[in-house]
């Protein structure tokens, strides 16, 4: 097939420029007397932006290694150091790249310090401990207790006191005062960018959807890495404009869109193109993903930025119970007119994957929408078997036909 193509999103080229400038800036940080901190994807980056520290994301870099299919090579380097093949493939890629300087961009610039928030998993805690030993640099750690039921005020106070501790620690590392006013501004910009991203994703509630999650997985780079800056806000404004235009003109991300799907968990980075083309062939559009939505949830509108950041980051998507996640997915299924849910059971990401079987059951019970679980990994191609995954996806889409016909 392949004659049907998804129309190009023009904002994409602007993003490429933006990200290249950013990486170049990070690479040249030392020459420009700037400090670099490595940070987790769910970490409160506003602290760094407010201190003029360049944030660098091993996870984003990991995704880059995955897309360019360097995963297995980098993983093996870490495995030869004794890191188990069962560990997160981002962590293995990152460690492999850190010790050899290998990667699509010749490795990341060395960190002056690390900022780790465990609101996305316990893996980052251990991974950043490894990095702190490897580079012999300070680790700023923010412990965000998991929320099984309700977020307690005790937990919020605990996170706040750690943010204050982290600020003091950074002041002593950088030898300069933390500017609370600047921080307020950054938090506000970050919150605005997060809602802007949320609104952009919500345009996919339109039928047909103007963008697919596969586009989103690429276009999410700025919200992950640079939220809190003015340019990110501007970028998503432009993207939103373009997509609104598409909605007006009825341009579909997947030409002849028939099926609307929700993707759970991280992308399979090394199979992005193949999967995207597969779904286009099947006239199925991935209209939403829980992964993309994770960055649309930062409400930072409160007047006290420390309090706002504590509450927003402690209630990150994967820092709440599977019941809570199922409820958010139900909202997406209903709001985006989803016909089926595809769960990427990601060997690398235990906290995101463990519970998917029960979530699938809950969603079907609540909404009648069926789900499919596919076994894969975000970066490690060696554990992926293409044939069965594609066959199962085709068969699943086939089962959606009667539902889809009933909806029309």
């Amino acid at each position: 097939m392949g004659e049907r193509r998804s129309p190009r999103i023009h904002a994409g080229s602007r993003m490429k420029e933006m990200m290249s400038t950013y990486y170049l800036g990070a690479k040249n940080a030392a020459d420009n007397n700037q400090k670099v901190a490595w940070i987790t994807s769910g970490g409160p980056v506003e602290l760094l932006i407010a201190m003029d520290v360049i944030p660098v994301y091993p996870e984003n870099h990991g995704a880059m290694c995955g897309v360019t299919r360097m995963g297995p090579e980098l993983c093996e380097i870490a495995e030869n150091m004794g890191y188990s093949r069962d560990l997160c493939s981002y962590a293995r890629c990152d460690i492999g790249s850190a010790v050899t300087g290998k990667s699509p961009i010749m490795g990341l610039p060395k960190p002056d310090f690390l900022l780790c928030c465990n609101n996305i998993c316990g893996t980052v805690t251990k991974w950043y401990e490894v990095l702190a030993r490897l580079f012999d640099v300070p680790l700023v750690f923010i412990d965000a207790p998991f929320i099984h039921d309700e977020m307690t005020e005790g937990s919020v106070e605990y996170v706040k006191s750690q943010l204050r501790r982290g600020i003091k620690q950074m002041e002593s590392i950088l030898g300069k005062k933390f500017d609370m006013d600047r921080f307020s501004e950054v938090a506000m910009l970050s919150g605005e960018a997060s809602s802007m991203w949320g609104e952009t994703l919500a345009l996919c509630k339109n039928i047909p959807a103007p963008m697919s999650a596969f586009d989103g997985f690429i276009l999410m780079a700025p919200i992950v890495t640079l939220r809190g800056t003015r340019e990110v806000l501007d970028f998503y404004e432009t993207l939103q404009k373009e997509l609104k235009e598409r909605v007006r003109e009825g341009v579909a991300a997947v030409p002849g869109e028939k099926y609307r799907l929700l993707w759970d968990n991280l992308p399979i980075w090394f199979k992005m193109r193949d999967l995207s083309e597969k779904f286009i062939d099947l006239s199925a559009c991935m209209v939403a993903s829980t992964y993309l939505n994770a960055w649309a949830r930062y409400d930072l509108s409160g007047s006290d930025p420390v309090d706002a950041i504590a509450r927003a980051y402690a209630s990150a998507f994967v820092n709440e119970s599977i019941l809570h996640r199922a409820k958010l997915m139900r909202d997406i299924v209903e709001g985006y007119s989803v016909d089926g849910v595809i769960f990427h059971s990601n060997r690398s990401c235990r906290p995101y994957s463990l519970g998917q079987y029960d979530i699938k059951e809950m969603l079907t019970e609540w909404t009648g929408v069926p789900g499919l679980i596919v076994e894969a990994d975000m970066n490690d191609e060696r554990v992926y078997s293409e044939g069965p995954v594609m066959t199962r996806i085709e068969a699943f889409i086939e089962t959606l036909k009667p539902r889809r016909e009933a909806r029309v």
Binding site: G82, L87, P145, S155, R350, L354, Y357
Partner: protein, 371 residues
């Protein structure tokens, strides 16, 4: 106590019948079980199940550790129906999500999670944990329909401290007389303490300690091993040590010394004491600590127990341990301490491969020691 360790559920069910008391299951060495004890409830550690997984497959992926998989499987197979409640601490990602899955599948059962901090050595963690323990206590009290008095909790803390001291004494005696008591028996004694009321266990343990004290110190030349890792509940591996005439002289296992080491001062507000106990105990790798360095801790353990080598027993798919392992291995190598990594599963697997590797390791240590 070995009988109890081999058939813990039988013991617990008999206890329940005998006393009419309630039993709660708990996970990991981080649940503040003193609270359960203070209310007269028997806390019982859930350590997975030896049978192969059947029912949990439709809830839990194969890439999750067998402790989590087989524990849920046992519950789904109705092997744990005698429990009156199940409680979880926050330890690792997998236990965290297991708690949610468990609560969804057994909605009728009393259940809760004490969300411990991950960063254990900052002052704000103690304040937070004390609040979290109080929250759990209130919920637990509502469920029981009765309050737990401060004096009751203090008393339980003292009883736990006494038991921990006795277990520490057992370990000290073993370092001196490793031939007098097998590695298996020591782990059985620790395991039995997870299924008995602590006062009953202490009474039995004191008798065993008396006996041990009367055994003369031996100057045996057996190869001396330290065990390090997570859960070790496989008699097969422990018997291999005996078969190879190697003695276990100390351990850093969560079913061994990490369960009981560290005793808090015996006065002050009991909730605070409880919080301090769990924050200051020898941390599991799932916890973050600025000061504790397990590499140094292990090296010191090896030196103090005059061990010849370390056997590292790691449950497959245990991320916190797997992340620590390479640097621990590196440090042991730098300090010229021979060590061997053995990957384990809760369900007993074929021991042949392990035997061959362990045999070669022990032979090497023997030669090194005598040559």
């Amino acid at each position: 106590m070995s009988t109890i360790a081999a058939q813990p559920y039988t013991y617990v069910k008999n206890w329940k019948e005998r006393t009419g008391g309630r039993v709660f299951g708990y996970f990991c060495s981080y649940f503040p079980e003193e609270l359960l004890h203070a209310a007269g409830v028997l806390p019982m550690r859930i350590l997975g199940d030896k049978e192969n997984v059947a029912l949990a497959d439709s809830h839990i992926q194969a890439f999750i550790c067998s402790l989590v998989r087989t524990s849920l499987d046992a519950a789904l197979k109705k092997k744990l129906e005698f429990l009156d409640g199940v409680v979880f601490p926050h330890s690792c990602d997998s236990i965290q999500n297991l708690a949610d899955i468990w609560r969804y599948n057994f909605p009728e059962q009393f259940s809760d999670v004490v969300v411990l901090p991950v960063w254990v050595d900052v002052p704000e963690a103690e304040q937070y944990l004390a609040q979290e323990i109080s929250r759990f206590k209130s919920k637990f009290e509502r469920h029981l329909g009765r309050q737990i008095a401060g004096a009751e909790l203090s008393k339980s803390l003292d009883i736990y401290n006494e038991n921990r001291s006795a277990l520490a004494a057992l370990y000290a005696l073993r370092r001196d007389k490793p031939n007098a008591i097998s590695g298996q028996t020591v782990l059985d004694i620790v395991k039995a303490s997870m299924y008995m009321r602590k006062e009953d266990h202490t009474a039995l343990l004191q008798e065993a300690l008396e006996e041990l004290r009367s055994v003369p110190r031996d100057d045996d030349q057996s190869v001396r091993l330290v065990l390090y890792g997570n859960v070790c509940d496989d008699p097969g591996i422990m018997h291999l040590f005996e078969e190879l005439e190697a003695v276990v002289v100390d351990d850093d296992l969560c079913t061994g010394s990490r369960y009981f080491l560290h005793i808090e001062p015996s006065d002050g507000d009991p909730i605070r004491r409880l919080a301090q106990r769990y924050l200051r105990k020898i941390p599991c790798p799932s916890k973050h600590s600025s000061d504790f360095d397990r590499r140094t801790y292990l090296v010191n353990m090896v030196r103090q127990s005059k061990a010849d080598g370390v056997v590292i027993l790691l449950l497959k798919f245990c991320d916190p341990h797997a992340f620590d392992y390479p640097d621990i291995s590196k440090r042991l190598t730098e300090d010229q301490i021979p060590h061997l990594l053995i990957e384990t599963e809760i369900q007993p697997a074929s021991i042949e491969q392990t035997r061959t590797r362990l045999q070669a390791f022990v032979e090497m240590l023997k030669e090194k020691k005598n040559g």
